[in-house]
Subunit: 275 residues, 2 copies
Amino acid sequence: MASRTFSERLRAIQQAKQTVLCVGLDPDPARLPLHLAQTHTLPEAVVAFNTAIIDATAGHACAFKLNFAFYEALGRSGWDVLDATIRQIPEDVLVIADAKRGDIGNSARFYAEAIFTGLRCDACTVAPYMGRDAVEPFLRIEGKAAFVLARTSNPGARDFQERLCDGEPLYRHVARQVAAWASEAPGDGGLVVGATSPEALRALRVLCPTLPFLIPGVGAQGGDPQQVMAAAATADGPVLVNSSRQILYAASGDDFAKAAREAADRLRRQLGMPG
Amino acid sequence: MASRTFSERLRAIQQAKQTVLCVGLDPDPARLPLHLAQTHTLPEAVVAFNTAIIDATAGHACAFKLNFAFYEALGRSGWDVLDATIRQIPEDVLVIADAKRGDIGNSARFYAEAIFTGLRCDACTVAPYMGRDAVEPFLRIEGKAAFVLARTSNPGARDFQERLCDGEPLYRHVARQVAAWASEAPGDGGLVVGATSPEALRALRVLCPTLPFLIPGVGAQGGDPQQVMAAAATADGPVLVNSSRQILYAASGDDFAKAAREAADRLRRQLGMPG
């Protein structure tokens, strides 16, 4: 599959498995099941937890998304835990590094290499504030993708992303630029658009009919699965709808993996497929 | 010194050592001195290089800035190299994590803890795009500081930072919000403003007369030291002027540390002190 674009691989996986669900592997040390936390070191407990979640939910997911904050918090073990987790992910699930990197070209190249080559991730989230030379190093490899933050799901999204520039919210300018940059690059561009703003989802789908959207914010943050699909999923416009806490912490005892599987399957069905 | 604010500590160090110079510890594996690269593993060579640069330049610097991209590129050794480097930095030089983090509150807290508590850094660079809840976790500790990207030094700064919102470039809105958020927080707020835009430096100093400015972009990126100081350094408005490549790679042979010391001393004198 190495010679295919990220979008082609995504489409094939979503069709074969009939799922747009992305499972967020964001292991909070304070919420690990007690029996794992008590019998392992913290890094081992996180790998064991992630492995059980991966095994339980991979059949229902088109992607796993790893938020790097939860791994960096493990200090010197963080990278090994990331690496060990990614090794557990089967071929038919894409791996998204939720690292929100954004730096000048010289530094961005090092970040991109660490994430795409070092950790073998298929995609990375990227912050747009520093502009084109901060984003392009993540668009240089065919088969990989950069999901650029457009309209995020958190309360602070209103502070700058919704400011009007030339009569349009900033996030629309970002989306238009990402589409333009990606059209000239070997890698794929995508957008991060929060489930908490259906208007932004609708407006951005019209503006960027074929870019893949990574959509966080259903479940714990309040976004509604059906509303999200109606606003953003089309036959040509793929979505990956992420859920983390609702699946990871569906139960806190020995049955956490089974509960996670059921939560993933339920959300997969609620989301359905576009069209 | 633990009960003093970041700005108080910065002022005391700058006065005592008569320097506004910040040295960027951005070790590019391709540019390490050959005798180090040939006799050590890469992580060991980086620590040896950084240690020599720290020993040679600490007397001329008020801060060291570590761009995390160069460490993350080392994979599983990255964190240990960061930690070992930071241990070499003497008490009278502040440590800035140039990590440009920006994520929702839940994740931002983990990043802030890893950087301020895990790695004991004094300050961190933060991306503003996600708004208040992405910045605030970095403003919660007295004695620490968040330097938020305002107008950066790279070409892509023009793509979004200079867009006019309500008649003003976006970076001015960011600066005004950072000043407001910092005024209500235990930690200090600061701004990242590139040396390559003297107008932005001047405009932001008028808007934020007392915030510390971290200023990259002199030397390799083209900013002029005297122009930067005239535009941004005042008796009440502190600056930290960063130089990386011009100092790290002043020479590439056995004499690299001596050459780095001379380059740091020369730039310190060119910069001078405000007022």
